[in-house]
């Protein structure tokens, strides 16, 4: 109040503090969003399935992934990171999770999609346990905010099984 610089500093300080409060409120408003997402994955083809020279099984799949994550978007959403993981149990590990595919969804319009794709990341077992293996495909997503708290959730799809013999 005593000088130009004093008043400018007072305004900027109060302005930034108020901005922080507004961002906290914007993040808090995300709690009132109750998303209703859906997803469906089909294994269209087992491209090949063999044992590597290292002794580990590897399989290549063609997947049809369709999902609707539009309801997860709010005014405070920067992007949604989605990834598909194969999950199964082996004698050595109680839970194996392998990411097969992921995508960054930058806007609500792009959050409803169907894609045909070979697995983006390789499905390699720790060992040779994949023949005839039953597995789940789980679609995980992280709703990344413009400011504040990130929300994460998933849909588990069960009932998938790998072939009994190598191809």
């Amino acid at each position: 109040m005593h000088s130009f610089g004093y008043r400018l500093n007072a305004l900027l300080t109060l302005g930034v503090t108020t901005l922080a409060l507004m961002c906290a409120m914007a993040s808090f408003s995300d709690n009132f969003n109750h998303p209703s997402p859906s997803a469906n994955v089909q294994v269209m083809n087992v491209n090949w399935f063999h044992k590597q020279s290292s002794g580990n099984d590897e399989v290549s799949l063609t997947l049809k992934i369709s999902a609707d994550l539009q309801s997860t978007f709010t005014w405070n959403t920067k992007q949604v990171f989605a990834f598909l993981a194969a999950e199964y149990e082996t004698p050595g590990n109680s839970l194996n999770q392998i990411s097969l595919w992921d995508s960054i969804i930058p806007s609500k319009e792009r959050a409803k999609f169907t894609i045909h794709t070979k697995n983006k990341y390789r499905l390699i077992d720790q060992g040779s346990n994949l023949r005839g293996k039953e597995f789940n495909l789980t679609l995980h997503w992280h709703v990344m905010p413009k400011t504040g708290k990130m929300f994460a959730d998933k849909i588990v799809m069960t009932g998938y099984r790998l072939p009994v013999d190598y191809r």
Partner: protein, 97 residues
Amino acid sequence: MDWQGQKLSEQLMQIMLVAVAVAAYVTGFMIESFRIMMLIYAGGVVLIALITVQNWPLFNRHPLKWLEPSVADEYSKEPPQQQAAAASSGKKKSTKK
């Protein structure tokens, strides 16, 4: 700025800032646009800076009343030089005692 002006400037700044923040948040929330909230708020802060930080004439409507030079002279009947001499002679008298 004078004292009243400083108080007015500070109050204006605080009230306007809260009003702009509320307007920005409510508008952004209603139309679901984070970007609009930020734009309204930034624009509002610039506007407030222009109005309250600069020393406009309206902040100088109650200027300080300094005493007139002639009024001050009533309290000292002798010019400053003789006043200093009287003070030093006063000091001498006290040490002699």
